[in-house]
Symmetry: C3
Subunit: 269 residues, 3 copies
Amino acid sequence: MSQTPGTLLAALRAEPPLVQCITNYVAMNIAANVLLAAGASPAMVSDAEEAGEFARIAGALTVNIGTLSAPFVEGMHAAIDGAKQAGRPWVFDPVACQATTLRRRVSAELVARRPTIIRGNASEILSLAGESSQGQGVDGRDDVAVSEEAARRLARESGAVVAVTGPEDYVTDGTRSARIWGGSPWMPLNTALGCALTGLCGAYAAVAKDGFDAAVGALAHYAVAGTRAHEGAVGPGSFAPRFLDALHAIAPEELDKEHRLRGHEGAPA
Amino acid sequence: MSQTPGTLLAALRAEPPLVQCITNYVAMNIAANVLLAAGASPAMVSDAEEAGEFARIAGALTVNIGTLSAPFVEGMHAAIDGAKQAGRPWVFDPVACQATTLRRRVSAELVARRPTIIRGNASEILSLAGESSQGQGVDGRDDVAVSEEAARRLARESGAVVAVTGPEDYVTDGTRSARIWGGSPWMPLNTALGCALTGLCGAYAAVAKDGFDAAVGALAHYAVAGTRAHEGAVGPGSFAPRFLDALHAIAPEELDKEHRLRGHEGAPA
Amino acid sequence: MSQTPGTLLAALRAEPPLVQCITNYVAMNIAANVLLAAGASPAMVSDAEEAGEFARIAGALTVNIGTLSAPFVEGMHAAIDGAKQAGRPWVFDPVACQATTLRRRVSAELVARRPTIIRGNASEILSLAGESSQGQGVDGRDDVAVSEEAARRLARESGAVVAVTGPEDYVTDGTRSARIWGGSPWMPLNTALGCALTGLCGAYAAVAKDGFDAAVGALAHYAVAGTRAHEGAVGPGSFAPRFLDALHAIAPEELDKEHRLRGHEGAPA
């Protein structure tokens, strides 16, 4: 039986999971603030000398390739080793994986290490699934809808739950699927909110029995908080503090009441 | 014929340029948010393994030495190589270039690679031009006015448009010059807003025919947004979200109406 | 005779000290903004090639191990060398020093280099003093009160002033001690505010005759600003800009009037 977003949020708040985030320099601060506001305990530990050791005490690991370099890649693999040894979930965020040779290579390596969840925009998911995309930089230029079939195929091939985020989000494990919507047009104008959402997927995965429920829970929390924060915001700047406030203020029962989800159990069309 | 700030802003909004920013760790998040709010698409890609490849698909490159290290320098040169091969403009931000031996050496190397625009505070521009300055850390301690002659000489010697920013900004290509004012006293109390402005110069350079117009456009956009954001702000903290809101809210025609510019075509005094 | 927080704040505002911060990637931006709002001049210079040279021109150095790696450690030692040669105070922030082998080793090395002030949460101070703690990640899970004896012993053994921060702060040099309270429950939900406080300790140390007064001054400034910022904030997001505004707005005489301090001269119980 699936765990609702509110059920998972209650569990997360009752015992805040330690979430190890290997994320990019742009995202580190906002990702930590998103996790703290939501109720989790973030730790940005990425150096190979300690990343594996730390992953064994963390509740989940998230890996993001936004600002890639050889030391980061080394740390990612060490951390994934640790998470796997400890039986912990890990989440992969393939930022701009279509943009350069290095990103394509590292992304393929990381997918092969069987993440619990892959979260990206449509351009990134299309690229990971081996299809051509319109994306160049870190912004997705493809519609989520266009990527759904690719997402299902990627999920089946990689064994990961795939979450494609955009104005409407799509989550699939290759069999089940769900669509979540809400949020705010100010969200893509706040840098690294997608990267921070990857961190939140890690927090939910740390307390969930199932990666699919975890991804749906994190995306629902984000969408409801974004919808709330949109009220009163007049631009991307005034949106940001409201969003952190909303992530924190949402109670589990409100989350289950307010999120807008259309789920499909069984084989998708 | 020169392109007005509003003309350039309209072009930037019509087709958001991908701006590759090699900037310091302090600035990465706010620089990305400034570019997004203004209407551009930032990407923080700095590792030598991919920086040159990425520069060939970006519309402009910006290089900032705020948190310097050997890997950064290697990435900067790789990216400049890529930008030059692709015929793209690049902007140099010589943060605290007077402070250490390393900074003086790297700054001289980068100036020799002929940036399209150099943007710095008065202390940095004086130092780049070989004059003594009062600056120690990252704050400028010299008046913009004091640096104008040095800025013109630097522009003539380097081939770059030189933008000196402070309470009143000065832009020169060695022949033409312009002064822009506005902004807010809260701006120097928000870290890395100068670094973020360098990113915006890159965005304007990506859509402009001429580096001089690009620098004037970016500085005018900043000054008008800063002036607007000052209203209602009671300190540096409340200024920041208002500034991002204002960068986003300004329409091209408002920018041309509100910016305060005194330009001098022909030989400066 | 001791210098009050307000006396030190007035000195800091009269001649803003240049504070070199070697801090983690999560903290760099907010630490710089905290120092600017308070009235100091931050510079994030950490690479070994220039960190020592820079430390000789800075008024104080702060060293934080939040995102540790070999290049950071090399830069820390170079900077400490420079600070010691120039006779400048330096502050150590042992982030999550109990979490990994690397952190335990590097923390022990840094304590042996005799920092002027050590600032950490109770879990970190207990760990540095050789006692077991409940902390796993970067959040302290131990009460400040539990760590007081360990703090005094650490102070006597290391020669440093030890500042343990939490809902109520405790400062000791092994002989004198003081407790400071105030702040806001939103503070631990804003990432890296502790790291930024370490930076502020550096700023106060740069203008104080005595490390004990410096630590008390910085903590009092933080507590009063946090208390003020709490009013009107509805969550961690709305707290943050108010906090920066409050750090800036507080006048020296208000600081001495509003801070809540219980000091003990002489041997503690």
